[in-house]
Symmetry: C2
Subunit: 151 residues, 2 copies
DNA sequence: CAGCATCCATGACGATACTG
DNA sequence: CAGTATCGTCATGGATGCTG
């Protein structure tokens, strides 16, 4: 607590009066949401993007609306529980729409919202990087491990 | 803009264990690198991007080289253990450089590699989305929770 | 300053069984 | 078909103490 560089976490950014220059700087950044501050809600977004399935789901729904079973079939290794859970979270965040048709059995179709479509540009760039630069990462890992093994 | 297809680096391997025969077939059929297959190495990249601190670290190092203590000070809430651990992983992946100066006490400076700089474009787009669209997400959450509370 | 080693709580996640 | 409910496991990551 004596390092006191950041305002104590636990609450959303408050209207605490800046006392010194450092806090003024932090406050200025926070005006737009500072992902580096521990108490910024942006962290929640990173956590969401960071979970195991959100990105894959969004990428699929970015191409076309899909039914639950289609998503499950398309995403290798996802459990029914996690697919449901992740879809609920994405729906809650306003990134995914859920449409229910009262057929028998019931038909549920998911889609990406306009909000999600803007995010998709970034996600596609990310996946694109991952798929094209993967060999370089593998090479770097091999070299690191080799050097590590020698020692 | 979006073509819906990913460039094919053609890095299909059978090193990871498949879940069942059907998924093996799916992975084998897809001529393009398919991030949706359970055994695609791209998943590993997503996991890395997805951990709690990698993105924040990379974003900081994308702006300027930084020392360990600077990173720790700048990233709110990160523990020394996780900062070290994440930096090691990033270094192993060839995304971060580590330079040690034999001063007393020792000085360690981290930086982003060219490989990481290409990824940074995507990460910045992502953070930018998060920081600007956060209000819309918050609104969506509030509405979802309200509807949920009624029932 | 920049770590490493250890203990431990949390919760993310998978497997399984059941339902409208 | 598209879930809900429950249980168990395991990795993530925080707290703490020690070091060159």
């Amino acid at each position: 607590m004596q390092d006191g560089t950041f305002p104590s976490p636990g609450h959303l950014q408050e209207t605490t009066l800046p006392i010194n220059a450092k806090q003024v700087r932090v406050a200025a950044i926070s005006a737009r949401g500072d992902a580096f501050a521990a108490d910024c809600p942006t962290r929640k977004l990173l956590d969401r993007i960071g979970d195991k399935w959100s990105v894959l789901i969004l990428l699929l729904l970015g191409d076309a609306d899909m039914r639950f079973s289609d998503l499950k079939r398309r995403i290798g290794g996802v459990s029914q529980k996690m697919l449901t859970q992740t879809l609920r979270s994405l729906e809650r965040d306003g990134l995914v729409t859920r449409r229910v048709e009262a057929t028998v059995p019931v038909t549920v179709t998911y889609g990406a919202t306009p909000l999600a479509r803007d995010l998709l540009a970034a996600l596609r760039l990310m996946i694109d990087w991952a798929e094209t630069r993967m060999p370089e990462v593998a090479t770097a890992q091999a070299r690191y491990d080799a050097r590590d093994a020698v020692k």
